[in-house]
Symmetry: none
Subunit: 134 residues, 2 copies
């Protein structure tokens, strides 16, 4: 989850808090500080961080979604809309590649996922267990 350390609200300001949140998020997305597919914190979490009610953040989200700047995918949360950033696109290509090859090996989805998850886990446990990559 991306820290929303750039979102601040000032209750004594001219514009109301929900508008402050909306604007700062919009700016962050516009400026690239937040990239497409990035996941936003839940309305409750961001609200808690800012000392606001969930409803206030929710309104900011809703307005952003109406404009199409963010997307809400039900249970899964809210995400920055748009196409993938080059960064993630590169990752996605790598991922698609390995999935293709594993599928060529005759693996099913569940098997792939299990192996991939295991790889991620063990890789983070010890930094270079299989560094042999010519």
């Amino acid at each position: 989850m991306i820290p929303m350390d750039f979102v601040r609200t000032d209750s004594s300001a001219e514009v109301p808090p929900f508008e402050q949140v909306r604007r700062q998020l919009a700016d962050a997305i516009e400026s690239g500080r937040l990239k497409p597919r990035d996941q936003l914190p839940t309305v409750r979490k961001l609200a808690a961080d800012l000392g606001l009610a969930a409803n206030t953040v929710a309104r900011a989200y809703r307005e952003l979604e109406l404009v199409g700047v963010i997307e809400t995918r039900g249970r899964h949360g809210s995400f920055v809309a748009g196409s993938l950033s080059p960064h993630k696109a590169a990752g996605a290509r790598l991922a698609a590649d390995v999935v293709q090859r594993m599928r060529d090996l005759g693996m099913g989805d569940a098997e792939m996922l299990a192996i991939l998850r295991d790889a991620v886990e063990s890789h983070s446990r010890n930094p270079h267990p299989t560094p042999r990559r010519s």
Copy 2:
């Protein structure tokens, strides 16, 4: 039968019980606490010992088997696998490789997993080499 005295579940923990079991077994195997050809308790027995449903332990076993860490020999029970089958080993290499590269891109574990999961899903939706099941 080897006593699974090192497996404990905490229903109030972050990760769900089946994942706790899976992880503890995986750790025990990786650390040598459990050795190849060691027989695991039946899903029902371990479940009873832990106060869980058989299904919960079964899920842990199933995921471990997908990765190739354990083997189930039908009627005889489940055993710690020796070396990975060439099939699984190939998959593991591919997986370790892609994880390495994605990590080189500066990705965190959570981001990797999300992208990989997405790749598996979207790949299975597309009309790529569909598993010929004639």
